[in-house]
């Protein structure tokens, strides 16, 4: 027990007590506490275990720089890896330490620390290589890593991201940020101010200062009031985590009630970075013991939460800032000894003991710090050691904006160098630590920080000097990296994991660089620093997902007649982004689909084909344009007629197939596959604008404007006649006609994807329901059946009609599908033509063929046609489509096969999931090869 609650602490309400649990232990707290302040107040020192060696660890800091104090929030609102220094203490919160098995206090992995000299940097990489790292991986991962995900938890609730613009975004609401925000707002600019803390004020919340006669934090509160009155948006618990291209800053705003932090994407004309600076540790042996903390954090806990972190406190500093901490702890009755490592004449001037020029050689203690031994050999008993090795400005956002850092000897840190357009760095983030300089002319009374003594880890020092508490990196690991010639900072980082995970260079980076500089005989700026990357603090993926989950993850497109299909018992599936009926009825997939496919061939089938592409191409050059776009010549098509054709990629592969309808001389409809409409519309636009006179041909996608209802089967003409569309006797296959339905025009094309006589009726989408119902009503006399997508797939497969992307892949040419005419005879230029003549393209050709099962069972779709060459199985093609045909009463299949057209009748071997089956190569069309059904 070393921490205790004093009578001070302005942020906590002594009349409101609450409690939470940590590793099953009940922790008392007050309203206003963070989890960290409450744990420290009740004397809890060990709050985590080291990542690698499982040494006991206590809190180092009081904010987002905290490397050790990380825990999982348990329960329904489970959140892994929460920094306890930022987490408000709330009633009933349940926390579980990380890396502790079972708890941080009692960790059975702690034995690992005794083997530490056998587990240097990269130990796991080097040791567990043979025969296969994956054999060791699960065990090693179980031992390492940070928090544990709770599979039963429901995860974060959704938070909608916000896009915002402003004139000025101010990052950090410390004294510099508050003053800058006020100046900008007073000048009439639209300002957004954000801060990661629960309250604005930054260092004024804990460091003693007077501004214009006011207490520092009262001044901060007054400025916030002024800002709100000026219309400034002030965001608390909001971290600016990343700076992206073209002035974009990403913010994450913590939410209550288990919702994910809300993402703000802010584009500001100017961003002012006032993110402050983070205190560094000092290099002495065992500087990771619980009880060794940042001096600034010690002051923070005391003045804000009334928590004194110790009773016998040694404070070691390389700068003037730690005197505030020493004074404050002395005033509440702690026994303070301050080691001013700069030397000088401070000894005897203070009410506490000051020793100058004597660094700590080692901290002593087993589970927590008990004493320190100085370089002079003197031993000082202490339950707490507070250290300040100087401050590292938080320049992350400047660096992410491609800003170039420069080294400053005075503050021993990298500072922003040349200005970056649209970004200004001020205050401690720019290396200005003294309040009087941050707020000039404002009557500031505050202690001076002064310069920082350079005191960095030295090579071959005794004991284990920790540089990165979160990743368990010591000075010896950096020396090992140097011996193995991994001396560049980026190699050093990856080899030792220095500065990875949460830390991102907040506390660990600079001591590691400084040691490497010393080892290589270079200066720190010559050694350089690693690239800062977002995020500054971890952001859950749920925040980036925002509302894109469940139905909104990848929204499906819906048919105008969906409700009607549901009432008719349709089961829906997604096809190419559209939610469509797969089959109707409750008799099970196989039975219903077979029933539909059989009935459609015998009488008439009704199919909702509304997603079918309907892209209009209009203008005097439309025919010329389509000649270029299609593999087939299209300008010879007569108005009122339809033609089937292919569109190729420039690489010569089939991109889409479909029917082109010539409505008028200068107006066509590209009836492309329903899943390819967007791709086709883009392709048409690109070529139109690239190679044609844009005033003479235009593209207009009307797909969603019309519903398309397909009537197919031998009785389809009779049904349409019964509905009132005339006799249609004169309408040949691949021709266009028009009818009327309740005052609306109906475009009727006689095209077929089933091989039977078929008609496609296109009508305004909002009037389709009446027509569909009329077709269903009149259809009863013809035994009409509602056809889902699955049955349609069988009908087209019986005929050998292809689905592009299923029966073709990225190298299938039109000739492979049996369409050779244009390749051999066409004169004009068309998309992909030249590629069809490349020898390399021809060399890898496969033909689409039919494959007959030699058993009553359908062939496995996706199975490879194999041949054994020199003892090894080689693929010669694969099955693209396979069904049981209710109209042929046998299985049918298609596949792509090398040299397939020359192998008709041959028996080939298929290989699928460890089994072989035989099949006979056959023509693709299994039913009605003469095409008589079209006119039946």
């Amino acid at each position: 027990m070393s921490g205790w609650r004093t009578q001070s602490g302005w942020a906590v309400d002594r009349n409101q007590s609450l409690s939470f649990t940590f590793d099953g232990k009940t922790i008392p707290a007050m309203a206003g506490d963070t989890v960290a302040s409450a744990l420290l107040a009740s004397g809890n020192r060990i709050v985590g275990r080291g990542f690698k060696y499982h040494r006991p660890r206590g809190f180092w800091g009081a904010g987002s720089e905290e490397p050790n104090g990380i825990a999982d929030v348990q329960g329904t609102q489970h959140r892994p890896n929460v920094q306890m220094t930022l987490e408000p203490a709330t009633e009933g919160l349940r926390l579980r330490s990380i890396n502790g098995h079972p708890t941080a206090e009692h960790d059975r992995m702690a034995f690992l620390d005794r083997f530490a000299r056998f587990i240097p940097a990269a130990f796991y990489y080097k040791t567990f290589m043979l025969p296969d790292w994956h054999l060791f991986e699960p065990r090693i991962r179980a031992m390492a890593g940070l928090g544990r995900l709770d599979p039963a938890a429901q995860g974060f609730g959704p938070s909608a991201p916000v896009n915002a613009t402003c004139d000025v975004l101010v990052v950090g609401a410390g004294p510099a940020g508050l003053a800058a925000a006020r100046a900008e707002a007073k000048a009439g600019r639209k300002v957004i101010l954000c801060d990661e803390g629960a309250l604005p004020g930054g260092s004024l919340l804990f460091r003693p200062a007077r501004i214009n006669g006011q207490e520092g934090r009262d001044w901060a509160a007054a400025v916030v009031g002024e800002l709100r009155a000026l219309g400034v948006r002030v965001l608390s618990r909001t971290t600016a985590f990343g700076r992206y291209d073209h002035g974009l800053t990403g913010l994450a705003e913590a939410q209550a009630n288990g919702a994910a932090p809300r993402i703000w994407r802010i584009r500001a004309t100017e961003t002012i970075l006032a993110a402050g600076a983070i205190e560094r540790s000092l290099p002495f042996a065992n500087n990771d013991l619980p009880g060794v903390m940042s001096a600034e954090a010690g002051l923070h806990y005391l003045s804000r939460f009334g928590v004194a972190v110790g009773r016998r406190v040694v404070i070691a500093t390389t700068n003037g800032s730690a005197y505030d901490t020493a004074r404050a702890l002395h005033e509440v009755g702690a026994v303070v000894t301050l080691l001013d490592l700069r030397g000088g004449a401070e000894a005897g001037k203070h009410p506490f003991r000051v020793i100058t020029g004597q660094p700590i050689e080692t901290a002593l203690g087993r589970r927590q710090v008990e004493a320190v031994r100085l370089a002079s050999g003197e031993r000082l008993d202490a339950d707490t050691v507070l250290v300040s090795g100087g401050h590292t400005p938080s320049v992350h956002l400047y660096s992410q904006a491609q800003g170039k850092l420069r080294w400053d000897d005075g503050v021993q840190a990298f500072l922003p160098g040349a200005p970056v357009a649209g970004l200004r760095v001020i205050g401690a983030a720019a290396g200005v630590y003294d309040l009087a300089r941050i707020l000039p002319g404002q009557g500031v009374e505050a202690a001076a920080h002064g310069g920082t003594l350079a005191l960095w880890p030295r090579p071959r020092a005794k004991g284990r000097i920790w540089l990165d508490l979160q990743n368990d990196v010591t000075a010896k690991d950096v020396e090992l990296a140097h011996r193995e010639n991994l001396t560049s900072v980026e190699h050093l980082k990856r080899y030792t994991t220095l500065g990875m995970a949460n830390d991102q260079g907040k506390t660990s980076n600079l001591p590691g660089l400084a040691l490497m500089a010393e080892l290589t005989g270079r200066s720190i700026p010559e050694t350089g620093t690693t690239t800062y990357r977002p995020p500054f603090t971890p952001v859950p993926l749920a925040s980036f997902a925002g509302l894109r989950s469940g139905q909104l993850m990848n929204p499906v497109r819906r048919l105008p007649l969906e409700a009607e299909h549901r009432a008719d018992g349709a089961l829906f599936r997604e096809y190419g982004g559209w939610l469509r009926p797969a089959w109707y009825g409750t008799g099970g997939e196989t039975a219903e689909v077979q029933r539909e496919a059989r009935a459609a061939r015998q009488g008439v089938g009704l199919f909702d084909g509304s997603p079918l592409g309907k892209i209009e191409v209009i203008g005097p050059d439309a025919a010329k344009f389509l000649d270029f776009i299609y593999y087939n010549t299209m300008s010879t098509l007569k108005p009122g007629r339809c033609r089937y054709g292919f569109v190729l990629t420039e690489g010569g592969a089939v991109f889409d197939d479909g029917v082109l309808v010539r409505l008028e001389e200068n107006r066509f409809v590209v009836s492309c596959s329903s899943s390819h409409v967007q791709g086709m519309a883009l392709l048409l636009e690109e070529w139109r604008q690239d190679s044609f006179d844009r005033s003479r041909v235009v593209i207009h996608d009307t797909t969603a404007n019309y519903a398309t209802l397909t009537v197919t089967g031998p009785k389809s003409r009779d049904l349409l006649q019964a509905v009132g569309f005339g006799t249609l006797d004169d309408l040949p296959h691949m021709a266009l006609s028009y009818g009327q339905f309740e005052g609306d025009e109906v475009r009727i094309t006689r095209v077929s994807f089933t091989g039977d006589r078929s008609y496609e009726l296109s009508i305004r989408a909002d009037r389709a329901l009446g027509l569909w119902r009329r077709l269903k009503d009149a259809g009863r006399a013809f035994d009409a059946v509602l056809l889902g997508g699955e049955a349609l797939m069988i009908l087209r497969a019986e005929k050998g009609y292809i689905v592009v992307g299923k029966d073709t892949d990225g190298r299938t040419r039109p000739m492979d599908l049996g369409v050779r005419g244009p390749f051999e005879k066409r004169k004009g230029e068309y998309l992909g033509r030249r590629s069809l003549h490349l020898p390399a393209v021809a060399a890898q050709a496969r033909d689409l063929v039919g494959l007959e099962s030699l058993t009553p069972l359908p062939l496995p779709a996706g199975a490879h046609v194999v041949e054994t060459v020199a003892g090894k199985r080689r693929s010669r093609g694969f099955v693209t489509t396979s069904h049981y045909s209710p109209n042929l009463n046998r299985p049918i299949a298609m596949g792509l096969l090398e040299g397939g057209n020359t192998r008709m009748g041959e028996i080939v071997t298929l290989y699928h999931l460890g089994h072989e089956v035989q099949a006979r190569v056959a023509p693709v069309c299994a039913l009605d090869p003469e095409g008589r059904l079209l006119d039946a």
């Binding site: 992206y244 291209d245 073209h246 002035g247 974009l248 994407r265 584009r267 491609q402 420039e650 690489g651 519309a681 883009l682 636009e685 690109e686 604008q689 690239d690 190679s691 844009r694 005033s695 593209i699 230029e829 033509r833 030249r834 590629s835 490349l838 020898p839």
Partner: protein, 85 residues
């Protein structure tokens, strides 16, 4: 996320755009040799620094020319193709 200025719609987030290729990668005529044709199809300059590219703004479907720097990500100019149609 970058902001690209569509010559017709003004600045919009990069996710609204579709890359069309290097500017000046002219389609060879029908008599092109195999190597000229495959260069047109497959050879990308992947320039470091200033570059001129063709992009489409998917929202308005207009194709335009964009001069930008692949290192600094600065967009120096965008230009409608063939004037304002």
């Amino acid at each position: 996320m970058q902001l690209f200025p569509c010559p017709f719609c003004g600045p919009r987030p990069e996710t609204e755009f579709h890359f069309g290729g290097d500017a000046g990668n002219t389609r060879p005529d029908a008599a092109a040799s195999d190597s000229d044709w495959t260069n047109y199809l497959f050879f990308k300059h992947n320039r470091k620094g200033p570059t001129r590219e063709i992009w489409m703004h998917l929202t308005c479907r207009e194709v335009f020319l964009m001069a930008r720097d692949t290192v600094s990500h600065e967009v120096s100019a965008t230009e409608a193709l063939g004037g304002e149609a």
